[in-house]
């Protein structure tokens, strides 16, 4: 057999697989961190007012980020991620809040109102909470680890592959776009300067990026076939992230807390 008869190296599973994360938060099971991010994002929407979401973002996002040592990265990334939608939502609510009476300031044809400001701040905190929760997850968890953990829990290997490959495709396309940009610029394409020039420069890059990716699909499919991907049944997993009964209780606790919060909000027990 090719390359197998003469060499049988007695080496086990390498220790770099599943290397534990640097902090206690990193070392949490990926599903626990995913549950925290999801519950926090939903709770941010369910909770009204300012105080609730502020307490939530402090306890579920900022404190864990401090523990994980990713606080500055989190603030920067979550801020950039939320910036476009946060700014537009803030401006729209500040100036165009329906039925608002209390005028703060008039700027030409538009009027900023106190009711609009209050609601805009609520929306802003919610958006930042959601953005922070998602960013915290991605800063402390490799997507592949989450997929591996889900596969161990019984998710179909094909579903797991598609989920994982989809996430991994983004950096691959970014790399491809950078290569094509460099190639096009070497042939005189202007991708810098005014906004119009930049927009004009995007088209010759987007086409090859997308068409190139589509063209590779067939070869990728064949390469997967050649490696037994279509075999029915379970795959062997070399390792899986650690989990504990305590984390299981924590996940259920977060889920129950969210259900309780929704129930309280729906019945109007707490406003």
């Amino acid at each position: 057999m090719a390359g197998s008869d003469q060499l049988t190296v007695e080496r086990g599973v390498p220790d770099f697989l599943g290397r534990p994360g640097p902090t206690a938060f990193h070392r949490l099971n990926p599903l626990t961190k995913a549950t925290l991010a999801t519950m926090t994002a939903i709770a941010a929407v369910v909770l009204g007012g300012l105080l609730g979401p502020i307490v939530l973002v402090t306890c579920a996002v900022l404190l864990p980020a401090l523990v994980a040592g990713v606080f500055r990265q989190l603030v920067r990334t979550a801020g950039l991620l939320a910036l476009p939608i946060a700014v537009s939502a803030f401006v729209v609510n500040l100036f165009f809040f329906p039925g608002a009476q209390q005028v703060l300031v008039r700027i030409g044809p538009v009027t900023a109102t106190a009711e609009g400001l209050a609601f805009a701040l609520e929306i802003l905190v919610r958006i930042l909470t959601i953005s922070g929760a998602v960013t915290l997850f991605y800063l402390t968890t490799r997507p592949a680890d989450l997929v591996l953990d889900l596969e161990r829990r019984g998710i179909s290997p094909r579903v797991a592959f598609v989920a994982n490959a989809s996430v991994q495709t983004v950096p691959a396309m970014v790399d491809r776009a950078a290569q094509i940009t460099a190639a096009q610029r070497a042939r005189g394409l202007d991708t810098e300067g005014s906004l119009w020039r930049r927009i004009r420069g995007v088209l010759p890059i987007v086409g090859p990026v997308i068409l190139g990716s589509i063209a590779e699909v067939e070869e990728r499919t064949m390469a997967l076939e050649a490696r037994g991907f279509t075999r029915p049944g379970r795959r062997t997993l070399l390792w899986a992230p650690s989990d504990s009964a305590m984390e299981g209780i924590l996940r259920w606790g977060m889920l129950l807390a969210l259900v309780a919060l929704i129930a309280v909000r729906m019945t109007g027990t707490w406003r």
Partner: protein
């Protein structure tokens, strides 16, 4: 174990004429058979057919017999055939699974798909890495390797399936000279270890270095066949769109310059 193609023809779905016609080929273990030909001559199609991907994955119509040690493989599913015949393509990046964050996991991807025991997966993976001489890269991210290294990882991924035969479709097409040399060394080493290898290549220098037998395709048919050294010296090669290897060109140039005798000492 011998991979045999007898009277094989193949037509892609919707094509008006066959891309392969009446191909006979024997690929025993430990032998490297080179495939040369102009663009569109049928090299890639031959690789797809020999590996079983055509028509299983690609579609189309096939005729003739493909056997492994006399047993017809028509009814074998791809995941079974892939444990006997591995295929590598020219673009190393498309052969990576995209879901492995280390070279070790990338090479282990195939055996993991087969549902083998974990120890078996680990042993096969280390063996394949060692065979390709890349065990030092085991903890590296495969996406951040050079093209040549990625191609070695891709071939190691095939080896971990423990196939008796490898089909390589222009494995050095996108590689620089250093990457080409790495792959050529690996092909020669694998053949010494007993693998039967079918390698389609435009680079006749590579074929001259690794292949013992060569077939040349034109319009999907075999037009030249024989020991690689003899076929590569055939004066009809340029007409068939196949560049002569540099050693042959050097010899011809020396003869034309009247110093052929001196070249041979």
């Amino acid at each position: 174990m011998t991979l045999s193609l007898a009277g094989v023809g193949y037509r892609y779905a919707g094509a008006s004429r066959p891309s392969l016609d009446d191909i006979d080929l024997e690929l025993p273990e430990g032998v490297v058979v080179g495939v040369a030909g102009a663009s569109e001559a049928g090299k890639t199609t031959l690789c797809l057919v020999a590996s079983g991907l055509a028509p299983r994955t690609v579609g189309g119509q096939i005729r003739g017999r493909i056997t492994l040690d006399g047993e017809e493989v028509d009814a074998w599913p791809m995941h079974r055939l892939s444990q006997r015949i591995g295929i590598g393509f020219q673009n190393p990046a498309t052969q990576l699974s995209q879901v492995a964050s280390t070279v070790f996991e990338e090479v282990a991807f195939g055996p993991m798909n087969l549902g083998l025991e974990r120890d078996e997966v680990v042993t096969r993976t280390w063996d394949a890495l060692a065979t390709m001489g890349i065990d030092g890269l085991a903890d590296r991210d495969p996406r951040h390797l050079s093209g040549g290294q990625q191609q070695l990882v891709a071939i190691a991924g095939l080896l971990a399936m423990r196939p008796a035969h490898l089909v390589l479709d222009e494995p050095t097409a996108q590689l620089d000279p250093a990457g080409t040399r790495l792959v050529a060394d690996a092909i020669a080493r694998l053949a010494r270890d007993g693998a039967g290898i079918l390698v389609a290549e435009q680079k006749t220098d590579l074929i001259a270095a690794v292949a013992s037998t060569l077939i040349v395709l034109a319009d999907g048919r075999v037009v030249l066949r024989g020991p690689a050294a003899e076929v590569l010296a055939d004066p009809r090669l340029p007409e068939l769109g196949v560049p002569q290897p540099s050693a042959v060109r050097l010899e011809l140039a020396a003869v034309a310059a009247g110093v052929g005798e001196a070249l041979h000492g």
